[in-house]
Point group: C2
Chain length 112, copies 2
């Protein structure tokens, strides 16, 4: 049984990739490892998640890519476009709003 829509993960891959690519260009396989690192091992995204998201972001115009041969292998490096930076800003705002709302709900002792 393939677990889909896993709790709290919708939109997360996109946000993380945009964040990682903000200011530096990186390639897919590198991003797989980086996601684990920058989230303190809390979140792990497989290649089956990373690559499709990368492709869809590029189709959208949020990313641009260039192929670069490195030591015989070919890597596809991605970087943010202006559109991608805006998308990151918007997504971050969404995230902040929702996480704030949930923090309030979980934190407060709701019932007198």
């Amino acid at each position: 049984m393939a677990k889909t829509n896993p709790p709290f993960m919708s939109g997360v891959p996109e946000l993380l990739l945009l964040r990682l690519l903000d200011g530096t260009e990186m390639y897919g396989y590198e991003l797989v490892r980086s996601v684990r690192e920058v989230t303190g091992e809390a979140i792990s995204l497989g290649e089956g998640v990373i690559y499709p998201v990368l492709h869809s972001l590029e189709r959208n115009g949020a990313l641009r890519s260039r192929r670069k041969p490195v030591g015989g292998r070919t890597r596809v490096y991605y970087s943010l476009t202006a559109k991608g930076r805006k998308r990151l800003k918007d997504l971050s705002a969404d995230w902040t709003r929702i996480q704030g709302g949930i923090a309030t709900a979980l934190g407060a002792s709701i019932h007198a």
Copy 2:
């Protein structure tokens, strides 16, 4: 165009409802308003979200319901079962892990 899988909302309705029902019984329509309140207006869930989630949680054994006539209308009050309390605990842990991971990723200045 029906927007599905909206960013960051997967699992959120379930978590919020379980949290609200932790310690008090409430009915559907009341929960719609309560979600807005306890999240500080940050999150709003329509009836088309609330009722299906309520039904699915009951089918799961996380909630139990009883019908109660109030002033001519009939309300369906829901309350947590032991299973529901465990589910709330587990979901909260998931949430905390993921929100921690994202906070780390967004906060840190990743690129030297």
